[in-house]
Every structure is written in C-alpha cells, then in structure tokens.
C-alpha cells in the first residue's frame, strides 16, 4: 500500500500532502493534552511495531504481496491521534531510508495508512464495543476494526491510483502516472485485502487488544474515552 514516486501526479500528491500537514498540526495539539506522559514508552514501541509489522510481506499465491499496518490496534490502545503520529514516523522512515513508498507520495501514504486508517479503525471499534467487561465482544470488535480499516485504506489507495489516468494522460491515450484506472485498481486492491491482508490485520488487532485488556486494562484509550463521556 506504499505508493512509490511517479504513480501519483502533483494534482493528487500535493493536496494530500497539504491535508497531511494540516492534520498533523491538529494531532500534535490533541496528543499534547490527551496522552499521559506515562505512555511515552508505549508510543515509541507502537511506532516500532508498525514499522516491523509492515516488513512481514504476505503473498497472494502466484500474485502480489501485501502486509498489515498496525494502525488499528494503535488507535484502539492509544487513540487515533497518537496512532496518526506513530504510524507517520514509521512510514516516513520507510520512505527516506528504505525507499518503501515515494518521497513525493509521503503525504498520500501517511494520509491513507496513518490518518484515514486509525480513525476508521477507532470508530468501527466503538460501533461494536463500548464495554470492556464484555471480553468476547471486545475481541470481535477489534477484529472487525482491523479488518475493515485496512480494507478501506486499501480501497482509498486504489482510488488514488485509479484516478490518475482520468486526470493526466499524454498524447495517444498513454497514462502519465499510474496506468491502471479505477475499474482495475479498486477490485485488485480490495479483493487481496478482503481475502488475506485484512484478515491478518484483524487477527493481530484482536489478540493484542485482548492481551492489553487482561494485563493493562486501565491503559486502553478507547475505554477511558468512553468513561469520560458518560
């Protein structure tokens, strides 16, 4: 899901970079007051976890590869704003040091995996679970949250790919950037994430949330937020 350089034209990557910078400014303000200083070590680990989990490329046999991102579990445990910053750090390091994801596409990749995905995951989780005492429901909600948020982020990425031929083409109908349109990009990315990568994201999310619920329940952001709202 790491868009490389040259697949998005400036009409796409510049607005997404702008949106990412603006949202980062809000995230810094939110995290400043919302997140307890006691959780600082966890945030470092969460970012590192996201980095590492994205290295586990999983195959579609005979086809492409993909991976989980970790944004869902980080959003549930530490809040979507903290997740946004943590996963952005991982993505920017991947682009700068390892060439995984383009430099021009940093804003787009961060927007998809570090902004859209944790927020989608967080609200999907809250739709299905608001009571930490109902452990089975928490497990299920965490799975669905990881599964759907990754699939949705993949579809968003596919839309960014797929609109390129509509926005810019040179003479002779040749694309300037990503050559595949929506009718190819969206099904290709949706199906592989629905069938394989989303399930892995869901399982990771469910088991880690369950582990924290057993060992450090007071830390879980989504439930602290619920009790503050009551």
């Amino acid at each position: 899901m790491h868009i490389p350089d040259g697949y998005l034209g400036p009409q796409t990557y510049i607005p997404l970079a702008g949106a990412f910078v603006a949202i980062t400014a809000v995230a810094v303000r939110k995290v400043k007051n919302e997140v307890s200083a006691r959780n600082i070590p966890y945030l470092g680990m969460a970012a590192a976890f996201s980095f590492i989990i994205m290295m586990f490329n999983l195959p579609v046999p005979g086809g492409t590869t993909g991976h989980a991102v970790g944004s869902a579990v980080i959003a549930i445990l530490f809040g979507p704003w903290a997740a946004m910053i943590a996963v952005s750090v991982a993505l920017i390091i991947q682009a700068l040091i390892f060439g995984d994801g383009g430099i021009t596409a940093i804003g787009a990749n961060c927007f998809n995996m570090a902004v859209f995905m944790p927020f989608a995951a967080y609200y999907i989780f809250r739709l299905f679970s608001n009571n930490p005492a109902k452990k089975g429901k928490v497990f299920f909600a965490a799975f669905i949250s990881g599964y759907l948020s990754l699939v949705m982020a993949a579809i968003l990425t596919a839309v960014e790919f797929g609109i390129q031929p509509l926005i810019a083409s040179s003479g002779g109908g040749k694309a300037l950037y990503c050559p595949y349109d929506l009718s190819i990009a969206v099904p290709a990315m949706a199906i592989e994430h629905l069938l394989i990568f989303g399930i892995v994201e869901g399982i990771i999310t469910a088991f880690i949330v369950r582990y924290f619920l057993r060992n450090e329940p007071g830390l879980i952001y989504v439930f602290r937020k619920e009790s503050e709202n009551e």
Partner: protein, 119 residues
C-alpha cells in the same frame, strides 16, 4: 531538559521490547513466504521496467519521478544483486533493526517534546 518526566519502563514495557526484537529477527518470513508462493511486487509498487512489461510502455511521469530519491538501503537490503537467500535474510533483519530503532527513538523524542499531560 526532560528530567521532570524521566521515562522508566515497567515490566510489560520491557516484555514488549523483547517481543519487538524477536519480531525483527523473524522478519525474513516477509521475504521467504512470498518467494515460496511465487508472489511478486505489491499492487502498484512495480519498478518502471515491470510497468513496461505489464502495459507495454513506461508512463512519462513515472519515468521522470521514479528515481527522484536514492534511499540509502533500498528494499531493506544492502545489495539487491546478492542471490544468497541467507545473506538477504541477514540484510533484512539488519534493516528491520535499524528501521525499528530509528522509528522507536524518533517517536520517543517527538512524544517527549509534545506531551504535557503529567497524569
């Protein structure tokens, strides 16, 4: 300057750090599994050459931008031409440890700089 919120790790945090290190060590699964199942690039992450093979031409913008950045460790390896699976696994582990450590350190620094909630 961070003295008022010195970070001390608890047992669970130490345990997680060890798990993260173990995960780094098994990252080569991420190159071996795709190899075993004959799976290639992620969708939309092809090189300009592969795009040429797929659609019969290299889009102009793609040709122009695809090499705009020279990463120090492209594709999590020091030598992409090295055909030894053992070497590549080693490079992958080292890349994982470098990347995860950098990510961890930078996120800690950012968190310490911005978090003002002492609770």
């Amino acid at each position: 300057m961070f003295s008022e919120k010195k970070v001390k790790m608890n047992k669970l945090q130490k345990k997680i750090l060890i798990i993260l290190l173990l995960l780094c060590i098994i990252t080569p699964i991420g190159i071996l599994l795709p190899m075993f199942f004959n799976a290639g690039d992620a969708w939309g992450e092809w090189s300009a050459q592969t795009v040429n093979d797929l659609v019969g031409y290299v889009p102009e913008g793609l040709a122009k931008y695809s090499d705009v950045w020279k990463a120090p460790l492209p594709d999590y390896t020091v030598d992409s031409k090295d055909t030894s699976i053992v070497h590549q696994s080693g490079y992958y582990i080292v890349s994982g440890i470098i990347g995860a450590t950098a990510t961890y350190g930078i996120m800690l620094l950012i968190s310490k700089l911005i978090i003002r909630n002492g609770r």
